[in-house]
């Protein structure tokens, strides 16, 4: 036991004495959270829509007024009037405006005679996010126009009203679980991968191997110190991250306790995985070369950045074997929905079984010689 603690003590002292290491594992993920969170999170605003009104009678003017109201209030878009369709389309192609709304010459007549009146939205579909925001806004605008007593009512229109059971989740909060797991992983890559292999290559392990330390003590010492650093990172990221992202009631002690459990299991699972990957490696280049790709392979499929529902079938299957999926899932339950313990037992069970398998294989492959 003393030997295990000696290895742990060594790593802890080194960790707290190395500001670079602390910054890389604690501060950078927070910066990443903020940058990512606000880069994707915001509502789309201030798009420019060209309006070509070829009708210019009362029903058309009414529609234009409604658009101006949106421009003034929600500010999703502002309108630019064009007299000529050709010029508007040219500006759309040149990127000066994001869409063109065309009100055709027979619009008012069709409204009056109820013969299927139409307006057209021509959009720059290279930017999917901006166009879907525009489409959404115009769909509701047309809906509102239909409900307007000026326009004739179509019989029995069905409307859908949405009830949200959780408070509104801004993207930065959606992203937080992923960033916590990623930071734990980065810490595992540095502690369990790069530092482990560098120590080995420098002959540090040669020094340990000539002492009477047992194989079990060596493995425990290495994994324990790696896990401890990862847990530390996880705690800092969870607490500061929740505060930065504005998670409601971030410091609720019951939840912090459940979060702690997830942090510990995630750290251990990722360190075990790293240990298995590195157990027979001697070349200090190997961890450096693999890690850039590795976090893409594990992080993106986990639903941390984009909901897994959007994945093709094969990738969903892949995501099911990815430990990140369960870690992110558990953090999401706790941070976004403040669920109890029962909701995360499945995720935790996976992490425990995963860690056991990884540790077992790594222990079998570990050699207590050079």
């Amino acid at each position: 036991m003393n030997r295990i603690l000696a290895l742990l003590e060594r790593d802890m002292r080194k960790f707290f004495r190395s500001p670079t290491l602390m910054i890389v594992s604690l501060v950078l993920p927070l910066v990443q959270l903020v940058i990512f969170g606000y880069a994707f999170g915001g509502k789309i605003k201030n798009l420019k829509v060209g309006v070509v009104d070829q009708d210019d009678r009362l029903p058309a003017i009414k529609l234009r007024e409604m658009m101006q109201a949106i421009a003034a209030n929600a500010k999703t878009f502002e309108t630019v009037q064009y007299s000529d369709m050709g010029k508007a389309l040219k500006d759309l192609r040149n990127g000066r405006i994001n869409g063109v709304l065309n009100i055709p010459p027979n619009f008012s007549r069709d409204v009056a005679s109820q013969t299927n009146p139409k307006v057209a939205l021509i959009e720059d579909n290279t930017d999917e996010i901006a166009t879907s925001a525009l489409e959404g806004e115009f769909a509701s605008l047309v809906g509102a126009y239909n409900a307007n007593p000026v326009a004739p009512r179509v019989a029995a229109k069905v409307t859908l009203s949405v009830v949200e059971i959780y408070p509104y989740v801004p993207y930065i909060q959606f992203l937080l679980p992923g960033v916590i797991v990623l930071s734990i992983f980065v810490s595992a890559m540095i502690g369990g991968g790069i530092i482990y292999i560098d120590d080995k290559a420098r002959g540090m392990h040669e020094g340990y191997l000539v002492t009477p330390i047992s194989k079990f003590e060596l493995i425990s010492g290495f994994t324990l110190s790696g896990t401890a650093k990862a847990i530390l990172t996880g705690i800092v990221l969870t607490v500061l991250g929740s505060l930065i992202a504005g998670v409601p009631d971030a410091l609720d002690p019951g939840r912090l306790l459940r979060l702690m459990l997830v942090i510990v299991l995630t750290s251990f699972a990722l360190i075990s995985m790293m240990f298995l990957m590195m157990v027979r490696v001697n070349d200090p280049l190997v961890p450096r070369a693999t890690f850039g790709v590795l976090n893409t392979l594990l992080w993106f499929p986990s639903g941390a950045v984009y909901p897994t529902a959007g994945f093709p079938k094969w990738m969903k299957a892949y995501a099911q074997a990815d430990p990140f999926t369960y870690a992110v899932g558990a953090f999401k339950s706790l941070l976004l929905k403040n669920t109890g313990f029962v909701a995360i037992t499945g995720d935790l069970a996976f992490l425990i079984i995963f860690s056991a398998l990884m540790m077992l294989s790594a222990t079998l492959l570990f050699r207590r010689t050079l």
Binding site: N2, R3, L5, A6, L7, E9, R10, R13, K14, R17, S18, K200, A201, R202, G203, M204, E206, G207, Y208, L209, V210, T211, P212, I213, N282, D283, P284, T369, L370
Partner: protein, 331 residues
């Protein structure tokens, strides 16, 4: 019982035999030197003796314990300073020592006492709380020596403890090692490149080349064992074509090695060779610029047994950057 007993110990890496059926014994209390050029197999031998790599065949017993069957007892009996410097640079001198005290299971009370004594012996007491990265190479080596003795081992293995140190530091390292040995019941097995060191400090020396033992005895006996009775060091005003060959052809000349235009000539008959040299120089149209008679050194012993000069071997040898990693080696 000898402190170290080695019997036909062999290590192969694939087809390559790094250590080839070595047999020798080291007596208790002895300082035993392993001498050999780069790649001779010194580190491989030490790694087998210190339980770091399993031998391919043969056996070795340390303090009576077999290295393969009873590695844990071996580990408790030995202190090891690996060739690479392995102190933790971010940790202090004391912290480095304490980690090893704990790994060896030294009881707390003894830990403190040993730590003080050892640091005083290697003259690092003033540096006890400084990070190792502020220490010079020689000081780091001294720290490692102190570290290797923290659990009071019976047998101390040092793999090239002085390589890469300046002459002053080398002397300091040896002085401290001697001082430490004087106060304890310690057997030392040390490898080195430096013939002069081995000559002055070792009780017995094993010369190893290509994994084989080529000679083993005390430095005096080794020097006496080679036939040449005297060594002449000569330099000439100019060097005629094929000069080394011509010198080798002189009667009674055993061997000729040239270094920086100085010829070191081993001869069975010093006075005769001296006059022969003068004559040969005159005939070849050159002149003897300097000539002196030297005593036999271990370099001469090495040259005699291997047909090569250790100095050249070292210069053409690979640079050891302290990384034990070797491509495709599987260690």
């Amino acid at each position: 019982m000898a402190a170290v007993e080695v019997e036909k110990l062999t290590k192969k890496f694939g087809d390559f035999t790094a250590v080839d059926a070595l047999s020798f014994e080291v007596a208790k209390g002895e300082i035993f030197g392993l001498l050999g050029p780069n790649g001779a197999g010194k580190s491989t031998l030490i790694r087998m003796l210190t339980t770091l790599i399993p031998p391919t065949s043969g056996a070795a017993r340390i303090n009576g314990f077999d290295v393969t069957r009873d590695p844990d007892h071996v580990r408790r009996a030995i202190g090891v300073i690996p060739q690479a410097m392995t102190s933790d640079l971010d940790l202090t001198v004391t912290e480095n020592m304490l980690i090893f005290a704990k790994l060896y299971g030294v009881p707390r009370a003894r830990r403190e006492r040993e730590l003080k004594e050892l640091l005083a012996a290697v003259e690092l007491s003033a540096w006890a709380d400084k990070p190792v990265k502020f220490l010079s190479g020689g000081m780091r080596r001294r720290l490692e020596i102190a570290r290797g003795l923290i659990h009071e081992p019976k047998i101390f293995f040092l793999d090239e403890p002085t390589t890469g140190l300046d002459p002053t530091s080398r002397i300091a390292v040896w002085e401290m090692l001697m001082k430490l040995k004087a106060g304890r019941d310690l057997t030392i097995l040390v490898t080195t490149h430096y013939m002069d060191e081995a000559d002055r400090l070792c009780n017995r020396i094993a010369i190893v080349d290509h994994g084989k033992l080529v000679a083993l005895d005390s430095p005096l006996k080794l020097k006496a064992s080679i036939p040449a009775t005297s060594f002449l060091e000569v330099s000439f005003s100019k060097l005629p074509e094929g000069w080394t060959e011509q010198l080798k052809g002189l009667p009674d000349v055993e061997s000729v090695v040239e270094h920086d235009q100085v010829f070191r000539i081993a001869s069975d008959n010093g006075p005769r060779t001296m006059t022969d040299l003068m004559d040969a120089a005159k005939r070849a149209g050159t002149e003897v610029v300097s000539l002196s008679v030297k005593s036999t050194t271990l370099d001469d012993v090495f040259t005699h047994y291997t047909g090569r000069q250790l100095r050249d071997e070292l210069q053409s040898g690979k640079l050891d950057i302290g990384y034990m990693y070797r491509k495709g080696s599987g260690i």
